[in-house]
């Protein structure tokens, strides 16, 4: 499918949705621009550009990702999503440990597993030291306060 056509459809949909969401926002308040003024201008321009993409698309086409690409993407997204989900409950330290352990220990790699486990420990300790202890960032903590 033509890339411009696909992008044009997506952008037109976004413009229409934002137009609907901003219909109650005032355009002018006592002769001055209101909250809906700037979004309306951008929405109008986005509609014009997306229609021009639909009507006169460039020749460049886009292909869908292959099955293998999608499987890798889903796996990566699954790991990241899992890390984000558990982070507020188990804290930054454990969720980081889980993220790195899943990726590095499950990989088929010439480096030995014990070496990779050591690497996980070093990176987790270093990131906790830098972000939490050195920079004092307020990252999520587990029930055990670490």
């Amino acid at each position: 499918m033509s890339r411009d056509r696909l992008l044009g459809i997506v952008l037109l949909s976004i413009a229409i949705i934002s137009g609907l969401l901003s219909r109650d926002l005032p355009w002018l308040v006592q002769g001055r621009p209101g909250a809906g003024f700037f979004p309306s201008i951008i929405t109008s321009l986005l509609i014009i550009v997306s229609i021009s993409m639909l009507v006169r698309p460039s020749v460049e086409s886009t292909s869908l990702p292959t099955r293998e690409d999608l499987l890798i993407l889903i796996r990566a997204l699954g790991i990241v999503t899992f890390t984000i989900v558990i982070m507020p409950y188990v804290g930054f330290l454990i969720s980081t440990l889980v993220l790195l352990a899943i990726v590095w220990l499950s990989a088929n790699d010439p480096i030995s597993r014990s070496m990779r486990l050591l690497l996980v420990t070093v990176v987790v300790t270093a990131s906790y030291t830098i972000f939490v202890m050195l920079l004092g960032m307020q990252l999520p903590k587990s029930a055990l306060e670490f």
Binding site: I14, L25, P39, L77, I84, D109
Partner: protein, 500 residues
């Protein structure tokens, strides 16, 4: 006291243990903040502001200036190595810097960033020392209408120089995302879907880390998991010819960055952006920008450092802060009992010249601090992608969480990461979207302010001499660009006909 005497006085005073310590601490902290996405310069200065109560305001300003300058140096590191801009002014640096790193020339990119930051930073400081009164007069004529026109034409020019319609659509999408949250004048919530987390809008760091950082990782996992970059030992260091190739770019970006930095509200981001556009147009390798050109790194990095010195001009001479960071520096001065304004140079020469001298020292310190680290940072690219990408993911998670200490922002980052993956797969440029988002709120505020001043009359953009000059200059440039593009197209067609 003339500028030379002032500088002499400043250099006499900066070499005291307390002033040097403040300068070194600020520079080091700033570099660290710049490297780490999510920890902004303004936030850091705000956190440290209470520490200045009851202390010498000069020392506070020296430290804060070091932080401000250091963040510009550090911001390029993650932009070049991971495609994650640490500061908004580094978004543009990522365009060519990351491409250079992908070609195994991370060392060159990092060194060019450090050297151009240093040279252009010194140009900016010379401007601050010698041209402050002149530039501050010009800055006073630069109000919201001029600011809006500058941003609008810069964005249009960027689109005209890249794949026009595609870039324009992404800029508009970025501007649209920038309207999420409270409107700048009345504070009315827009597009927040009744979510409290969206009431203050979406921070550009979240979008940049998702689209550019996570999106890049997701797109690269399959092709790069087993590979390392073809990085030779000598590629860890810059080549002299690369440095020499950038000399014109650095000088021009230094001057431009200083002038743009001095304009209230423009800040370092607009400076880096406009310098990149200018160089894309006039430098020899300009048409190849975006594919990994050293000038494409030198221009934004030089301009954003020179803009730091420029931003000091309205702050010190007029008491007008140009950005959130300079506003906090101004607060530090006021808390210390010093009133910035036209009389500051006459009433507090010691303070002003020590701060200016400290910026010179900070520039040298930052160059010394950054150049030896170049091979170390560049050698990160030798690590196999399998071991690099989970750390980049970790970085994006921490960076997005740190903005508001809210897991919602991490989910937003993930969402933009998926969008980044899809758009990247479709060969859609992502930098225009991030630029639209960064400059959008600034553009909206200045447009709304302009129309409020004129009570809704759009003629305000044509009635003021400076704004009219911007319109005429930018329109002429756009017409020339269009004409040159049409001419080149025609030439190609004619050549093609001749060959056939």
């Amino acid at each position: 006291m003339d500028a030379l005497d002032g500088l002499r006085l400043g250099f006499d005073l900066i070499f005291t243990p307390a002033a040097l310590l403040a300068c070194l601490t600020g520079s080091f902290l700033g570099t660290l903040i710049g490297i780490l996405p999510g920890v902004g310069t303004a936030t850091t200065i705000a956190i440290l502001l209470p520490l200045t109560f009851g202390r010498d305001p000069g020392l506070a300003l020296i430290m804060f200036s070091g932080i401000y300058l250091g963040a510009q140096y550090g911001g390029s590191t993650t932009a070049i190595l991971m495609n994650i801009p640490g500061e908004s002014s580094s978004v543009i640096t990522a365009l060519d810097g990351y491409q250079l790193a992908r070609q195994g020339r991370a060392g060159t990119a990092l060194a060019i960033a450090a050297i151009s930051s240093f040279v252009a930073g010194v140009i900016g400081l010379l401007g601050l020392a010698f041209l402050s009164p002149l530039v501050s007069k010009f800055a006073l004529s630069f109000g919201p209408p001029e600011q809006f026109l500058l941003i609008a034409f810069a964005l249009l020019m960027f689109c005209a120089l890249t794949s026009a319609r595609l870039s324009l659509s992404m800029v508009l999408l970025g501007l649209m995302i920038g309207t999420i949250g409270a409107d700048p004048l009345q504070g009315e919530p827009r597009f927040t879907l009744n979510l409290v987390q969206l009431s203050e809008g979406i921070d550009f760091v979240i979008v940049a880390m998702g689209l550019l950082g996570l999106g890049e990782v997701l797109g690269n996992i399959r092709s790069q998991e087993r590979s390392t970059l073809p990085l030779k030992f000598r590629d860890l260091f810059p080549r002299l010819e690369d440095v020499m190739q950038c000399k014109g770019t650095v000088l021009r970006s230094g001057v431009l960055g200083f002038i743009l930095g001095a304009l209230p509200g423009s800040g370092t981001t607009a400076a880096s952006f406009v310098a990149y556009i200018l160089e894309k147009r006039i430098c020899k390798n300009g048409p190849k920008f975006g594919t990994g050109q050293v000038e494409g790194v030198a221009a934004p990095e030089g301009a954003n450092n020179a803009a730091v010195a420029g931003a000091m001009v309205p702050m010190l001479t007029l008491g007008i802060p140009g950005s959130a960071s300079t506003a906090l520096m101004l607060a530090a001065l006021i808390i210390g009992g010093v009133r910035p304004g036209p009389l500051l140079f006459a009433e507090h020469p010691t303070l002003v010249w020590t701060v200016i001298a400290s910026l010179f020292v900070a520039n040298v310190v930052l160059l010394i601090l950054n150049l030896p680290l170049v091979p170390l940072f560049a050698s990160l690219m030798r690590i196999r992608y399998l071991y690099l990408y989970p750390v980049i993911i970790l970085f994006t998670i921490v960076g997005s969480y740190a903005i508001n200490n809210d897991i919602f922002d991490v989910w937003m980052m993930l969402l933009f990461g998926v969008a980044g993956y899809v758009l990247r797969h479709m060969n859609v440029p992502l930098a225009p979207l991030v630029l639209g988002l960064v400059l959008g709120p600034l553009a909206e505020t200045s447009l709304v302010q302009s129309l409020s001043i004129s009570r809704g009359n759009p003629l305000i953009f044509f009635e003021r001499p400076t704004s009219l000059t911007i319109i005429v200059a930018a329109t002429t440039l756009l017409v020339i660009l269009r004409f040159v593009a049409a001419w080149n197209k025609r030439k190609k067609v004619l050549l093609g006909n001749d060959e056939s």
